[in-house]
Amino acid sequence: MNFKTLLMGASFVVGLTLAPLVAMAQNSGGNLVYLVQPEPPSLASFLSTSGPIGLVGPKIYDGLFDYDTDLQIVPSLAESYEVSEDGKTVTFKLREGVVWHDGAPFTSSDVAFTVMDVLKQVHPRGPNSFREVTSIDTPDDYTAVFNLENPAPYMLRALSAYESPMVPKHLLEGQDLRSSDLATNPVGTGPFTFTEWKKGQYIRLDKNENYWKPGLPLINRIVGRFIPDASTRTAAMENGEVMYGAYGAIPNIDAVRLREMDGFSVTTDGYAMINPMALIEFNTTKPPFDNPAMRRAVSLVMDRQFLIDNIWFGYGKPATSALSSNFDKVGLYKSGLPNYPASGDLDAAIKELDDAGIMPDADGIRASITLDLIPYGEDWRRAGEYMKQAMKPLGIEVELRYEDVPTWLNRIYAEYDFEMNVNYFYQLPDPVLGVHRHYGTDQIRQGTHFVNSSQYSNPALDALLAAGAQEPDATKRAGIYGEIQTILATDMPVANLFEMEFLTVYNDKLADHATSAMGAYGPFENAIVAE
């Protein structure tokens, strides 16, 4: 018996024992059609954190870790990790026997390449997440040692498939990362393999038969559909043509209706890792918002609960600090700060302005300003209408401006041609990743989107931000972030409005889709569709 027949015989026996298992798994999974809105520009999740890319990418790519619903680390491509005493070396033990969708083995050189040559270079948040990483050693195929300049505790929360996807070195090395074929034809290690992208219609992924988690994924095929009209998306959901819509794909107004119907469910789970916060950015370089009293007055007069109840149908929590209260879990949140009333406090706002000597003129006007609104849907327009009314008794005359996305981005982040801008940001699982970008002097980067457009600069705060990023001791770190939040509640370069709760609407035939903190940006390997 030569080697080849032995091998065939062995695989035959293995095949026989596994066949019933495989057949069962194939029958049990079903096909999932879900909403991807809008159509993504590419599938290069190593280049872009764009929402629609996030809905697809993590099903194809794995990260080193996943995170459970309490934000605790769950092993993924890394089975374990160890942080050295001084916090400057992190050693990851990688899973053995993982292969890329093209059959090549996944090794530590892929990890080193992904972090050093891809994420640190071209990813929007990578340079920040891996700022302290100076080099990565690969003593063997399944060990990756990250050498850090300074301790970076937040880095361990940025290793999910969405935030830091591991990409194949053998397909990307030596290529122009930004125009690589992988952007439209992704090859990962994840539970689903990329099959087809029909522009304007759908993206199709099929089950990865060689996935490293035995017996998973359960679903045979995942199809992401693009439907531009919100009412049609709801109708398609109601009709059973799609089974899952996250990140506002089904507007709240329809979600509350579907919630009451048989066969559909609505959940706010699966957004813990994103931590979205609605807020107002002030232009602190020109009147009237160069005066902190003006900014505080606006924050005081905002009826946060009104916005939540009447515009977002009860979904959301009033902001009480520059940090989301979700950071309470990791001890960084500080409660009881001033200038953050849940319901607007007109008297306090008026007093604030009077004390600062900002008096109304003969017509009762203290300031006339333009309020820009994030052009991401009708909700924001309605919020703008409310704000206009809320500021009127303060003597602030507001004109609303609603433009299309490129014009708006250009105005706010390139021209700084605004006074007050309503927006929302992801605070992400650590303030270093999602919050620092609003306030650091080094984050005043003209022409770069979604950073410190308020152009707020405070050396004392800069020092605290730098300290907070590097402090490995949890108690000391909490103290630093307490100080940061106190300064921000007084200076208020940005008025946080409310912690947003995004809605996921799904057909009850679909189960186990929100098993990680990533929700819709998760891999869906446990999800199952009943026939």
Partner: protein, 328 residues
């Protein structure tokens, strides 16, 4: 023989005349689109979450957006002459590939719409005119008025509510069933099934127009001398109506249908969005918001060519319907 030669020469002449027109459209569109603030790089970087100014400058250089406007126009025109429509930065694909891929669904929707709208428009107009001031005429006129006045997106949504949600006869959106991925004839049937609601929605508006036009045209022709002559010859009313009057009355409808092919692409933006129909209208809409100007210009160019071609076809049909119209 002579007539077919003349026809070929006429077609060639018309095509030749069309070149400067298309050229002018391209240049005009190019400058019009420059009026929009922000560019493709802004949108790409905005969607990505953030990007360094260096990266954005690098992208602008790569896309040629850092060049003076006149240079960009020159490059574009040079490409168009060689039938190269340029590159869509957003989709990371050649424009021609994208546009042709989306042209087929649009063509499908437009063809079925024209057939439905013109066919039923002529029929309803005929019925209304032949029963002047009877209940038939009144009913058809009211129907035409209502369909003309109703917004397209509302009609689309109502059809979805009634025929997809309540009756379950048709799918709500898309061009195919994505859970199944049919092949062969099953796929043809599946696509036809998906085509029904968008076609009806887009047809209703134009149907009203053609109905009214046909009715007026029929009435006008009915009073002409040749009708009286025909009647004097002892022809049956039926023959007068279908052979004499109809042939003449149809001319303005055909003209109108030709003119409206361009407008149809515009109107289809709404219908395509409501029904998630993967056509050119939707592509144009998205391209505008992504500031994907190459792509938008490509779509405009194709539409312009389409309008020119359809007008030529209409003129040929015209001369067949009415041989007195000279091809010169």
């Amino acid at each position: 023989m002579e007539s077919s030669q003349r026809r070929t020469r006429y077609v060639l002449k018309r095509l030749f005349q069309a070149i400067p027109i298309v050229f002018a459209i391209v240049v005009l569109n190019f400058f019009l689109l420059q009026l929009a603030e922000g560019d493709a790089v802004d949108v790409l970087a905005g969607e990505a979450g953030s990007a360094t100014p260096e990266y954005m400058a690098e992208l602008r250089e790569k896309f040629g957006l850092d060049q003076p406007l006149i240079v960009q126009l020159g490059v574009y025109l040079k490409n168009v002459v060689t039938l190269d429509l340029g590159y869509s930065f957003r989709h990371d694909m050649p424009v021609s590939e994208l546009v042709l891929d989306r042209f087929i669904p649009t063509l499908l929707l437009m063809t079925s719409t024209i057939i439905l709208a013109v066919g039923f428009g002529i029929l309803l107009g005929l019925v209304a005119a032949s029963g002047l001031n009877t209940w038939r005429d009144t009913a058809i006129s009211i129907f035409a008025l209502i369909t003309y006045a109703t917004p397209l997106f509302w009609v689309g949504l109502m059809l979805i509510v009634v025929f997809s949600l309540n009756l379950g006869w048709f799918p709500t959106s898309g061009m195919e069933n994505f859970a199944m991925f049919y092949e062969g004839w099953d796929r043809v049937v599946d696509i036809a099934h998906h085509l029904v609601l968008p076609t009806i929605t887009l047809s209703l508006f134009y149907l009203a127009l053609y109905t009214r036009l046909m009715r007026a045209s029929m009435l006008e022709q009915a009073g002409q001398d040749y009708v009286t002559t025909a009647r004097a010859k002892g022809l049956t009313e039926r023959r007068i109506l279908f052979v004499h009057v109809l042939r003449n009355a149809i001319l303005p409808v055909v003209t109108m249908a030709g003119v409206q092919v361009g407008a149809l692409i515009g109107g289809s933006v709404i219908v395509e969005s409501v029904f998630a129909w993967p056509g050119l209208g939707m592509l144009a809409f998205e391209a505008l918001f992504a500031r994907d100007l190459n792509l938008l210009l490509g779509i405009f160019l194709l539409s312009a060519v389409l309008v020119v071609a359809v007008n030529l076809i209409v003129d040929i049909i015209y001369s067949t319907l009415d041989p007195r119209i000279e091809m010169a």
